[in-house]
Amino acid sequence: MTPSVINSRSLALKMIIFVLLSITLMVVDVRFNYLTTVRTYLLGVVYPLQYLVDMPIKIGQWLSKSVSNRNQLLNENAKLRTENLQLQVALQKFEHLKNENKRLRYLLDSSKEVGERVQVAEVLAVDLERSKRNILINKGKNNNVFINQPVIDAKGVMGQITQIGLFSSVVMLITDPEHELPVQVVRTGLRTIAKGMGTLNRLSLLYLSNTGLNTGIKVGDLIVTSGIGQKFPKGYPVGTVIEVTPDIGKPYAQVHALPRAILERNREVLLVWKK
């Protein structure tokens, strides 16, 4: 090791300058959104790192797919075929309903058009901050992803975009304690807000008064997005109610729901654009 003389006063000065700089950066990051573009480019810069970490896992999946035997593939094919058939049948009905809905809307003079465009994005196998529930996907500014864009999977709502990079973006899951989602009970039309609790697979439904519990909501009810707040399109399934506990001591009851989407172990997600 080389002998070195470090000027301790200039070192302390440098430290203080950098500490002040970081404090300023943090305050700007929290209070204003000047830094979103900076972050977009910085995320673009670090994308190769995230890609490198994700690659071995992708290669592993590809290998396991290419060595899986013929029988297994045939079974999977048969299963997918039956599933496809069932979906086709459902779709026929859906097509009919859609046309009818359009006609009725036309009769009612309501111009509101329903329809969304979706695109598949892949989840990168990368860990983000542990205390938050965020995931990273491989579509970014170059694919016209925008902030607050809804993210869903085949079963239900997953979350929304919170940060955009050039080639990747960060999705905040609905189980994040900072995430709130306007929802509605399908059976009764009761509106509420689904808030994340920071734990795996649990949502808390807010502002449900103790008195209205009997008629409004019960265990097993399906909740869907209500479309209030304009960020999420209406009618996507969010979860199932699993626990209703009236709490006499508090103004509101404790109601918990289980998210429908597979939040933690998905490889593919869908991004939704409004038409």
């Binding site: 090791m1 080389t2 002998p3 070195s4 470090i6 301790s8 070192l11 302390a12 440098k14 430290m15 950098f18 500490v19 700089l21 970081s22 404090i23 300023t24 950066l25 943090m26 990051d29 929290v30 830094l35 900076v38 972050r39 910085l42 995320l43 810069v45 670090v46 790192l49 995230q50 490198l52 970490v53 896992i57 196998a125 990368v126 860990d127 983000l128 901050e129 542990r130 205390s131 938050k132 965020n134 940060q163 960060v170 304690p177 900072e178 795996l200």
Partner: protein, 163 residues
Amino acid sequence: MNLVLRPHGTWVIVLSFIFSFMLSIMPLPIWISAWRPDWVAMVLIYWCIAIPHRTGVATGWSVGIIHDVLNNTLLGQHALSLCIIAYISVKLHLRIRLFPRLQQAISIAGLIIINQTLSIWIYNIFTNFQIDWSVIFSAISSMILWPWLFVILRDMRRSYRVF
């Protein structure tokens, strides 16, 4: 003795930081992720005590910014804690170099506890997050792995003559 040394082997430093970033974002099962060693802080401390005339507060800060972008935390959160860690280790580099390996590992654990506590504390100012024992877990795992990391980085530094 010629003391005017030109910087040499910057790519080794950069590569070691890239590896530490990759290790710090590698997906782990949830039960073990609290035990993930603080790789970035460990590599930073090593370079700060080995070549304090080259890596220091500024390196710590820029590494911290990249760490923040990778972890999607506030810009400046890890930058602040890592630049303070860099300051302490540059300040004490002569002492830490002389420590026996075990004592060195313990002091590294102390530095990592400072690093984690600072960044959680900052995070706490802006959001609501309980401090739990996970701070200690990652300090313990870093302490256990420090001697090996030290030997690997020292050998790399010697064979590629980084000074």
